[in-house]
């Protein structure tokens, strides 16, 4: 486990690409901002190495007015298993947290998302949002979602949503009707599903490189 303190008023942003066993603990001081992207989009090489991947992210907001953004994305095939766990703890009020976690599962892959969100009794005026969306491409793939919300303050805005679905058949047919082959149409839809997680990467070059990575993996 690595612990990192984000000091008062500081900003920290980082992309973690294919880091199995990632275990991060952030302590945020007042007015600090944290933005991380945790991406599991294994290429051919990392694919053979690690079949079971587990990512654990713990964030504690210890000062007022912190901002936390966590983005997660996993694209899994074969026998791959990824567990992503987030623990966001608002111990002081006036902070915000946004989480968007997406899984795409093919083959016999398994995805597991545990989203633990705590808002302490004195953490009033907290705004916390957690969204988990999953796309299941095969019948054998499996997704488990466990949102855990513990909200002890009353003057807060907290939302969470989870959905797991398949590719939109009507969109597939619409694309085929325009001459786009079924496989290509699937790729375009999967790509579209995944890329919006990356829209929030601040650095344009990094974003472009990640989009290329996704393109390469989907094909």
């Amino acid at each position: 486990m690595s612990e990192m303190i984000i000091h008062k008023g500081e900003r920290f942003e980082r992309v973690y690409l294919n880091e199995p066993g990632l275990d991060l603990h952030f302590v945020q001081e007042a007015g600090s901002a944290l933005k991380i992207h945790v991406l599991n989009i294994p290429d051919g090489v990392s694919r053979c190495r690690d079949i079971e991947i587990s990512n654990n992210i713990v964030v504690e907001q210890t000062g007022e007015g912190c901002r936390t953004e966590i983005y997660g994305l996993a694209y899994l095939r074969g026998e791959e298993k990824v567990t992503m766990e987030t623990h966001v703890h608002h111990s002081v009020g006036g902070g915000t947290s946004d989480q968007l976690v997406k899984f795409v599962l093919d083959g016999r892959a398994c995805g597991h998302f545990i989203g633990d969100l705590k808002i302490a009794p004195n953490a009033q005026k907290t705004e916390a949002h957690q969204t988990n969306r999953n796309l299941v491409l095969s019948e054998e793939a499996e997704m488990r979602t466990q949102p855990q919300l513990e909200i002890y303050a009353d003057d807060v805005q907290a939302t969470h949503g989870a959905s797991t679905g398949q590719l939109d058949e009507s969109a597939l047919f619409y694309m085929q009707q325009r001459g786009i082959g079924k496989e290509k149409a699937r790729q375009l839809l999967v790509n579209a599903f995944m890329t919006d997680v990356l829209a929030s990467v601040s650095d344009e070059e990094t974003r472009a490189r990640l989009l290329d990575t996704i393109d390469g993996v989907i094909k």
Partner: protein, 250 residues
């Protein structure tokens, strides 16, 4: 005499085990416009779905030939590349796929099928601009996701725009007039008319005579209970408007 483009022979089709088309026969030659009218549930949209290969429908009998080739044996995307185009009654929204990317992929797949080279980005964009003018569509739509957040009128214009880009030999317009105000209807109809050539043909599915004031058909067919029960010229549509389907003494 012009060449035969499409031949539908004794076509039967069902959805979820329920027979909707019960023996449709129709021959369409190059250069012709055929209107198909009929009451709700007669099978009009089923016919367009079956011709384009929608997997929700099952063909249970008959055959369809496109320029002599077995259309029903082709995958939906192959039918499209061979020149069958459907203007959807309800165009589908595809979040995250931009109009530009979508259209470029579609056009290049068709060109590959025809043995032509891909268009360069520059050639493609200038073609988009040219065809957009035809439908009076704003350029900003290029970067938006396919049909996402488009108004009803924009969606229908966008269908005809795609038709202009792909230049099909057979265009099926499935209730393209529904949900359009009179100005949008005029723009859409003018777009369709300008795309007409002596080599292509269209099937115009509609409930109302109104559209046929703009897109003038060579033939009007009445589809009722899964069969074409009456065929006439454009005056049949006027007669229907006046007397209703009941008044036809079918």
């Amino acid at each position: 005499m012009s060449k035969t483009l499409l031949e539908i022979r004794d076509l039967h089709a069902s959805i979820a085990g329920k027979e909707i088309l019960k023996g449709v026969n129709l021959t369409i030659n190059e250069g012709e416009v055929h209107a198909i009218m009929g009451p709700n549930g007669a099978g009009k949209s089923t016919l367009s779905a079956v011709l384009t290969g929608n997997p929700a429908y099952e063909v249970t009998g008959g055959e369809v030939l496109l320029r002599g080739e077995n259309l029903l044996a082709m995958e939906p995307e192959v039918r499209a590349r061979a020149g069958v185009f459907l203007s959807f009654q309800y165009p589908v929204e595809i979040p995250g796929v931009s109009m530009t990317n979508f259209m470029r992929t579609a056009l290049n797949e068709k060109r590959a099928y025809e043995g032509k080279e891909e268009l360069s980005a520059r050639e493609f964009l200038s073609l988009m601009r040219e065809k957009k003018k035809l439908l009076e569509l704003p350029d900003k739509l290029n970067n938006r996701s396919v049909n996402e957040g488009f108004s009803g009128g924009e969606k229908k214009k966008n269908e005809i725009f795609q038709m202009a880009m792909l230049e099909p030999c057979l265009a099926i317009l499935d209730e393209t007039d529904s949900g359009l105000d009179i100005d949008a209807l005029r723009i859409v109809a003018e777009g369709v008319n300008r795309l007409k050539t002596p080599q292509n043909a269209s099937i115009v599915i509609t409930h109302y005579q109104r559209l046929l004031d703009y897109i003038v058909p060579d033939f009007v067919h009445v589809l009722a209970d899964g069969k074409i029960v009456k065929t006439g010229d454009k005056t049949l549509a006027l007669e229907l408007e006046e007397k209703g389907y009941e008044g036809l003494n079918l």
